[in-house]
Point group: C2
Chain length 382, copies 2
Amino acid sequence: MFRALARATAALGPQAAGRVRTMASHQLLVPPPKALLKPLSIPNRLLLGPGPSNLAPRVLAAGGLQMIGHMHKEMFQIMDEIKQGIQYVFQTKNPLTLAISGSGHCALEAALFNLLEPGDSFLVGANGIWGQRAADIGERIGARVHPMIKDPGGHYTLQELEEGLARHKPVLLFLTQGESSSGVLQPLDGYGELCHRYNCLLLVDSVASLGGAPIYMDQQGIDVLYSGSQKVLNSPPGTSLLSFSEKAKYHHTTPVISLFSLRESLALIAEQGLESSWRQHREVTAYLHERLQGLGLQLFVKDPAIRLPTVTTVAAPAGYNWRDIVNYVMDHFDIEITGGLGPSLGKVLRIGLLGCNATRENVDRVIHALQEALKHCPRSKM
Amino acid sequence: MFRALARATAALGPQAAGRVRTMASHQLLVPPPKALLKPLSIPNRLLLGPGPSNLAPRVLAAGGLQMIGHMHKEMFQIMDEIKQGIQYVFQTKNPLTLAISGSGHCALEAALFNLLEPGDSFLVGANGIWGQRAADIGERIGARVHPMIKDPGGHYTLQELEEGLARHKPVLLFLTQGESSSGVLQPLDGYGELCHRYNCLLLVDSVASLGGAPIYMDQQGIDVLYSGSQKVLNSPPGTSLLSFSEKAKYHHTTPVISLFSLRESLALIAEQGLESSWRQHREVTAYLHERLQGLGLQLFVKDPAIRLPTVTTVAAPAGYNWRDIVNYVMDHFDIEITGGLGPSLGKVLRIGLLGCNATRENVDRVIHALQEALKHCPRSKM
């Protein structure tokens, strides 16, 4: 109908048509895209990279539920359950504990925008990509950013931090518990107490570690803690977890279905128990380390005490292009593992065993795939 | 095990325990929340408010799919299909057309942060809540904001805007095509051309109208256009649609499952055809208007030419508390309708017929529910 009218209008000549300011003066010039007329088809993959991980079956089911309104009473109940679930996995009683409608980056941004003012001194543990990003956001806020740069694989001792705190007198310190680009687990005991002695708040990123490695927000004196949904929690990406003590407020259409999924993720970990989840990740990842060393591969993080129990970094095997190995494992076995990220790029392969993906069976699958890759990928002469 | 070690440590006395900086010095003080140990249960509701709307069956199925990596080649294909789908529903050839990981508010923020600098003059059509929010964000950016305030139900003529453009010399004009708080459809023909004559860009919110009312981004000279996923598109909230001509860049873990859903939403509208979708909304909403008037109710927007074909505003029935009616329809029929929002609060009831919810059968259901509500809700003497 519109098209017919448009033709009739056009027949009046360009000048007359130009004066006609009605809907009918337009026509659809962009046709329906052909690619959208084909059915959606998603491959079945085992996601053993540093995340996102596969969805747990119960989380999958939540994603297939019908909508309710974001302001319905059931939704408030679910958001309250999510809050309690986050308080459990964070081990905190902070009332300001909530799910953010956005990825871990959003949670980091929300934290920094609520904690930093232009001109504030901001001390950043930059031993991988997450510290770099925190520093970037801090710069954009106009803070005086002091990155403590370390090579990938490094972590921060209490003594090193005390020097930084004394020298820069920051209002905020950023540390990453699970540095997924290097596979390092940053110790956290004593760090909150140290910061508070210097009137500094402690902000911790636990995206790649939460649920897989112990953390005790209140007992460790962590002032602000955030994490993501798509790692150990096995939820779809798109929501994140955040807890802190300052006032905040928001209102928009929340991602209802993603919140169903997050609620189910938190229910699964509440049922399993945090300590059991930590033990599962520690034991299965130890088994992975043993099998990797059995293949003759070297773990990138030398000190077992600071190896992340969720994401393992393997020194990139000498003589190979790491990309060939990653591609071989994907193409022949439908398993995702990845190379490094940021400062660890080219130096490591990364294998994530996150939540429901942390099983001995998956270790056996990825070890078999790696074995085949090492056999078949091109190798330069040593 | 942790708990047993913690007890042993405590037995050393408080001072010794204080020096022991190991995981074992902590214990879980926050127990698994009881509410999370109960199964998730979601009621079956017909969502006839101004959105979010119910999910189409094919979109529901997409939400139940397993994850793939956000950087896998299939995901790039899906994002490309989404881009083409947005170009289709927006009727634009802009290369910078994309899905945003966040609600319509995020898209508005992304648009304003890319278009406004501190000190810029920003002209805002504020005839409802969305213009107010655009003005708020503009203020926070530090722009000189000039809101053209109108009572709910009003819209802007070309002549009014020309006065504002001449007086304030703005770099940007914000208009809402579908003002869902008042039920007004803002005409758009000629507005882009007018803005460009005054060296001003035109930013349009089509959250509550896209797919239900005609829009032709390129032909109407709209410089920046955004919309949401949870209205006519019948996708879950959490993603939004945005197109503009400036450079932008982002990288984070995209909401993979939500993007599956958005792809399916766009596929449905590509299959149906935009003009058919517009016609469906116009016809079904006209039927709703006829049935509402049959109940003796008054439409809030008097001029049929500017009635939004997606969200209908009904003058709050005299003698009733509008909240009683909304609650009655929800409690007895599991149908969501809502009251007003912002400036229209207390003045209207709002009924949305969005995407797959826009059927004559749903009109009959909500009319029956309203009839019962008017019969049974308390009524003050007139």
